[in-house]
């Protein structure tokens, strides 16, 4: 008898899965995300509502921006490099951004660094990052045809290399200069600067329009270079544009919350599973929604259930690491 019941449940679930179109799933995810956001804003309010809403509101905006940045950057990167395991963070792009920032402080000195207009500073940093990252990407993905594991290994070691150089530079800075650097490196979720938020919102709106206009190109890019070229997409031009978008997103999220290695990998792979479609029309919003649910929901859990006993990044690093090992060992790429 129980077997029959289990079978009937199984059949009804598969039937339900078939009936759930990607649009339906997207709607469900959006409702979930909205619920999580509402819980985040309203749970356990002890201070006055006005204070709580502004305080949590700013934090929420940071969360939303980061969710957008990391998920779309990872998704685009995976479509571009035509696989589902490499992410910009694993390939060392975050460390590269920190290296750019550290060398800027090192070369200019803290006086000139702080005197620079913060928007100008941001533009300089992002342009250096874009140039460096496009060379790295061109060299690793376009010129050479490395096998996947070697590619990841090179990326990981590159990350360690960049990280070590910035560590050395940080050691060489004197304490005042280091504190200036630290302020710009480790803006936390609670205390993101308003200027940075404005820059991010402007940049992200531009990128959002770009994504909306070009989402069908990514569907074709994900088929690989020969197929994409055959279908009439200028692969190298598109690659260049995508690299600019990806590095800008990485720069933004790293500036907002520092490097998070495995978050993008986790979110995008969850999105692949629950999305039920390979079209970027659905994949992009779905991965953003997944990121929001994980990030905001994770913070709610951490704050109200676990009492801030640990940091979200530690847990993400742990789960992401295990997930990554399983992914490469089973090669579900």
């Amino acid at each position: 008898m129980p077997k029959k019941i289990i079978m009937s449940i199984y059949y009804s679930i598969t039937a339900l899965r078939k009936r759930l179109t990607p649009a339906c799933r997207l709607l469900l995810a959006a409702v979930c995300a909205l619920l999580v956001v509402i819980v985040f804003m309203s749970i356990n309010v002890k201070a006055s509502w006005e204070f709580t809403l502004t305080f949590r509101g700013k934090k929420l905006i940071t969360f939303l921006l980061v969710a957008f940045c990391i998920s779309t950057a990872t998704l685009l990167f995976q479509s571009l490099s035509n696989n589902r395991i490499i992410t910009p963070a694993i390939m060392g792009f975050d460390s590269l951004y920190i290296l750019v920032q550290t060398s800027l402080v090192y070369v200019l000195g803290s006086m000139q660094y702080t005197a620079l207009n913060s928007y100008l500073k941001w533009v300089i940093e992002i342009s250096i990052l874009v140039i460096a990252a496009s060379y790295l990407f061109q060299w690793l993905f376009i010129k050479k045809h490395y096998n996947l594991y070697l590619l990841i290994l090179i990326g990981v070691v590159c990350g360690v290399f960049f990280h070590s150089i910035s560590a050395l530079m940080m050691r060489m800075l004197d304490p005042t200069e280091f504190s200036v650097l630290q302020d710009s490196l480790f803006a936390s979720f609670n205390a993101a600067q308003s200027e940075l938020l404005i820059v991010s919102i402007v940049a992200l709106s531009a990128i959002g329009i770009f994504l909306y206009r070009y989402h069908h190109y990514f569907d074709v890019l994900a088929l690989g270079k020969p197929m994409a070229t055959n279908l009439g997409v200028n692969h190298s031009a598109m690659t260049r544009v995508c690299i600019i978008v990806i590095t800008t997103l990485i720069g933004l999220s790293t500036a907002l919350v520092g490097p998070v290695t495995f978050f993008g990998l986790l979110v995008v792979n969850v999105a692949y599973i629950v999305c039920g479609s390979h079209y970027h029309r659905y994949l992009i919003p779905m991965s953003i929604l997944c990121a929001i649910i994980l990030l905001v929901g994770g913070d709610v859990l951490l704050q109200h259930v676990l009492g801030y006993d640990t940091k979200l990044s530690i847990i993400i690093e742990f789960i992401g690491g295990v997930f990554f090992i399983c992914l490469i060992l089973r090669k579900k790429i």
Partner: protein
């Protein structure tokens, strides 16, 4: 062999002398300088040489056991496991003597490394590059567990300071355990032939008359003990055990009886060189040797990877 060894020993002597002479206190012919040399400079130089020898030997043994050129204790979770053991002792038995801390660190290093090698055996490996990749991620996961526990008990800073390879605190009476690690490397030399055979794989080595499991466990214990001792004493020096054996193997091949002395010597040379660099680059301040070694090591690692690829 002699032709390689003579210049290397001269170089080692030269670097050791400069390591003794370099420091923020200028040396004169008086009692105070003698004290500084005997209490601080000579122990530091010895600690560097011993660490260099034992870590590079541990690296090459690890490479034989995992049958992969791109692994070493810090990319197989051995270092992280030792740190985890250390951390557990710091939390639960902070008053325990160094010996017990060391013992627990070594035992946990054995368990962690064995687990990694078990994972490697269970999964079919499609590519040689998969082994170090899984190792680095495994180390990362262990690192996350360490951070999690340390954060909970407010030990994050002390554990970071502890495991970062740094020789500035070495004084007479605080480095002598490293002799144990170097002694283990010396003992490993007597089983060099067996370890070379074990590197050919289980089937081949059993066919050649080797008791594979015994040699395997033996190698595992040596690697874990060396790692435990160096982590507890001087911290992590990344990529040392990877870079040195690979370069030596490019020069003289993979027969450990021939290459092991050379590996030990080059390891000592590299560590001495990096530490002198770390002491002079921002004189009179010091930079931890781990930072310098991180740059040099990852650069050479990249070079080796790209060389293998082409």
């Amino acid at each position: 062999m002699f032709r390689i060894f003579l210049p290397l020993s001269l170089l080692l002597a030269l670097l050791s002398i400069s390591s003794i002479l370099i420091g923020s206190h200028a040396l004169h012919f008086d009692a105070k300088s003698l004290d500084i040399i005997l209490i601080s400079r000579v122990p530091r130089t010895l600690a560097l040489i011993l660490t260099g020898i034992s870590l590079s030997v541990a690296g090459v043994i690890m490479q034989q056991l995992a049958r992969n050129k791109f692994v070493e204790p810090s990319t197989t979770g051995t270092v992280e496991s030792a740190t985890l053991g250390m951390l557990v002792m710091l939390i639960f038995f902070p008053a325990a003597s160094v010996f017990y801390k060391l013992l627990v660190a070594c035992i946990s290093a054995v368990i962690g490394t064995a687990l990694f090698l078990l994972i490697l055996r269970r999964v079919p490996l499609r590519s040689g590059f998969l082994v170090p990749l899984v190792g680095i991620m495994y180390a990362g996961v262990l690192g996350a567990i360490i951070t999690f526990i340390a954060y909970k008990y407010d030990l994050l800073q002390s554990i970071w300071v502890w495991i970062q390879g740094d020789f500035s605190m070495v004084l007479r009476g605080r480095y002598e355990l490293l002799w144990l690690a170097a002694g283990l490397s010396f003992i490993a030399y007597f089983s060099a032939d067996k370890l070379t055979l074990a590197g050919l794989g289980k089937q081949v080595s059993i066919n050649l008359g080797l008791n594979y499991s015994v040699v395997f466990v033996w190698g595992l214990i040596i690697v874990s003990l060396i790692t435990g001792v160096t982590v507890v004493n001087s911290g992590v020096i990344p990529f040392l055990g990877l870079v040195v054996p690979n370069i030596v193997s490019l020069l003289v091949g993979d027969n450990l009886r021939r290459s092991l002395p050379l590996i030990a010597m080059s390891g000592a040379l590299l560590v001495l060189f990096c530490d002198i660099l770390a002491r002079t680059i921002n004189f009179p301040y010091e930079i931890p040797i781990a930072t310098v070694m991180g740059i040099i090591g990852s650069f050479i690692f990249l070079f080796l990877l790209l060389r293998r690829a082409s």
